[in-house]
Symmetry: C2
Subunit: 241 residues, 2 copies
Amino acid sequence: MKKIDICLSPDLIHQFDLHESVAVVIDILRASSTITTAIGHGAEAIRLVETVAECKVFKEEGYIAAGERDGKKVRGFDLGNSPYDFINSEIEDKKIALTTTNGTNALMKAKGALQVLTGSFLNYTALLSYIEKLPCDVLLVCAGWKGKVNLEDTLFAGAVVYGLKQLFEYGSDVPLMAVNYYKQAKDNLKLAVEGSSHVQRLMGMGMERDIDYCLKFDEYKVIPILKGLNITKMKLSDMLF
Amino acid sequence: MKKIDICLSPDLIHQFDLHESVAVVIDILRASSTITTAIGHGAEAIRLVETVAECKVFKEEGYIAAGERDGKKVRGFDLGNSPYDFINSEIEDKKIALTTTNGTNALMKAKGALQVLTGSFLNYTALLSYIEKLPCDVLLVCAGWKGKVNLEDTLFAGAVVYGLKQLFEYGSDVPLMAVNYYKQAKDNLKLAVEGSSHVQRLMGMGMERDIDYCLKFDEYKVIPILKGLNITKMKLSDMLF
């Protein structure tokens, strides 16, 4: 039977056999939610870059420079990492260079997988519909906060396992734990994530609106897929079945 | 305020500042339960060794050789890793050389801490009474299964956080997640751990009796403490307050 597993931190990625799996990178607050929003609003590609300096080089080449450090927009950039920055007709058909604290790192570490997708509540059903049909194992990779296991990413991983029902066997105890945690939390996700250190950090920065948005289900039907260093919208020809 | 945090896998230990913390190593099935039992039954010291060959050298020097590989007693050893092997008057005042799959590794990785203790349901209240009074941070280090996050160790870490109530602030989201998981599970721990891959593995080996035993609260009042490579019973003079 196909297996599903959850890597709770990018620092644990060596424990998993990426080569046989499709990886779904999860950084609910906010990289994977922002990427979903940008792709959903027609961005042609999102180029992941590691450093602020590199991002600025891409800006000189015509990219929109976007990203945050420690939750704040980088000075001189066009956009931050708030998904609201990408609900914006000006990004349609544009290329975006994006650097974030956590999400970029997790995406880079997942690169050995058969495919690397990003997942968020915002594209939950689209993601589920795709991975349910996959002929291979699936690994959910939580970005966490600076590598540390966090609540909101674990909760979303649990939501995915919950949605898959019985089609996959669990590769470790973590899917069982995450799905039980999600069941306990699902009737009030906002309440469940309010104890999270990252949520409190963002709320302290006045970003409650972002949090509410990132917990919305199914605002978009797109699946972002990593190709080389670019994230684009998954096309029919990308599907592994 | 003092902090409490949980390291869900020895592979994440680099994320924590061990030098300022007392570490509690948790390997419910079965190293930390077995160590508690052996110390509770009067073993003078438990020497942790990495390899089976090394354990045999200690046997030649008069130690009792104990340990398991993949859940089974090593051939030629006096004792396995079942706690029942240590409910045994012959271990009183004896030195034991112990090698296990998971627990030894976690103990070794925690060695940079101010003190390294072991925790299990079997010495839950004794452990809580001590760490509540500590003037420093506490890190609960789950051994997991071959480094992978597991259910029973996470659950026990949650039980510790639950018992501590409000005296410590949480160092990350993990204590919050673990305590919520424990609250959900505490009325039927056996049921809660039955989904664990390791529990199923042990049950398949006919070790249900071990599992029931390892989930018992407060069979012993001892706190095992690591000194160099030996685990002994904590004495008054070891206490950090």
